[in-house]
Symmetry: C2
DNA sequence: TTATAAACAGACCGGTTGTCCTGTTTTGTC
DNA sequence: GACAAAACAGGACAACCGGTCTGTTTATAA
């Protein structure tokens, strides 16, 4: 895929950071697409253009590599697609909605659902190893805490008085995770919008305006 | 673990159905606890007390075994813990709540969270093979459809007029799936109750009574 | 009883896996 | 330039994996 500077056998250039980054790039993508156990180090080495010695130098074991992927890449992905947008949004609810819509739009554009990187690895590795579990739980915790903090900020501004921050955060993360799980399995991002709509229809601020009772969903019968 | 009738080398008793059931039992448990790729046929054979020839006779490939587990066991588990209770409940919402609470109580009792069998396999296998994906998507679909049907039944009884059946079903399944994912990763079933509470607080029937605006959650500050 | 197929036993094989090990090259430091 | 440590190359290896194969035993039906 990507061109790599493997031209001269007689001339070598040490680039530890670049090599490490390349390995993490490949591992992140492969763990996401195929999972941890289905990704062999041989495949990763070939894809990254790295020899066994180099890989072993940076990541002594496969577990160490996966741990690095979780702590550096998966955590960063959650930070980028969730935590930062929610912090930057006008309100917590607007932030949640914008993320749902942004992800749904992205999935529709690329026409393929790879699933949530965190959930993918969490399901496969949480019970496999205590270190994996701890690392993954930390990312989940940071994700939820960021949303809860945002609710608390809204509350200090006089909004969301009837909302429990932790519960709201748990619901948002759970709904997104589950929706992505279904979207991945069905290879259809529509369920993301279904969940967002159901969430917004039901969970608007307790003190907000009365919901419209217009009969819109006749197709049920 | 379980005693098996492997005492007489000179006397054998053919029991195809029993043997098949034993293999499925072991495979279901191992796929649930360790995942598909991390479960070797050797381990399964040893745990079930079955030889390679017998296993191959009933399940030609590992994929065939997994497919059988999905279609016979995982689908049955969803039917038992979700579809039947939702059908039997007074209303769809009551059914959803009762399932959440029943599962949470069960997890708290056994003190360990293995996760949702369907989601566990869905994350690992959806992208691995089209047959896996189709089988798993079918279970998800039946799950959601059962909840949507229950909402429609409520609507015929005059309730839930402002609720979109499909969206509600998607939200319920997504929330449960995501909550179980977090519960498994954190090894804490509390998030299930958090999600249920947030869901019920937010998503009560649109035409129902006004939500109480009592200030209950002061702990946020 | 006998034929016939299903049910099961158990060894075997090619390929793959993750890891280790020894050696070589590059890089930084004095 | 000398030296040490880091960075990298690449082969070796033992364990394991899933699948196949041949042969034997049990059940079934004629």
């Amino acid at each position: 895929m990507t061109a790599r500077p493997k031209v001269r056998p007689g001339k070598r250039t040490n680039d530890p950071e670049g090599l490490r980054k390349r390995v993490l790039d490949v591992a992140e993508a492969s763990f996401q697409a195929r999972g941890y156990h289905a990704s062999s180090l041989g495949d990763l080495m070939a894809a990254a253009g790295v020899t066994g010695g180099a890989l072993h130098h940076h990541f002594p074991t496969k577990k160490a590599l996966a741990l690095a992927v979780i702590e550096e890449r998966v955590a960063a992905a959650v930070e980028e697609t969730w935590i930062a947008p929610v912090k930057a949004a006008g309100t917590a609810r607007e932030g949640v909605r914008s993320v749902f819509e942004a992800v749904a739009a992205e999935l529709e554009q690329q026409g393929f659902v790879r699933g949530c990187p965190l959930n993918n690895l969490a399901h496969e590795l949480s019970l496999a190893d205590p270190d994996f579990r701890a690392a993954l739980a930390g990312v989940f915790s940071a994700w939820r805490e960021a949303i809860a903090d945002r609710i608390r900020a809204d509350q200090q501004a006089g909004r969301e008085q009837g909302t429990d921050p932790q519960r709201f955060a748990a619901l948002a993360v759970a709904t997104y995770s589950g929706a992505m799980s279904m979207a991945k399995t069905a290879q259809d991002s529509g369920v993301l919008r279904d969940c967002l709509n159901a969430l917004e229809q039901g969970t608007a601020s307790a003190g907000a305006k009365r919901r419209r009772r217009v009969l819109r969903q006749y197709k049920a019968f």
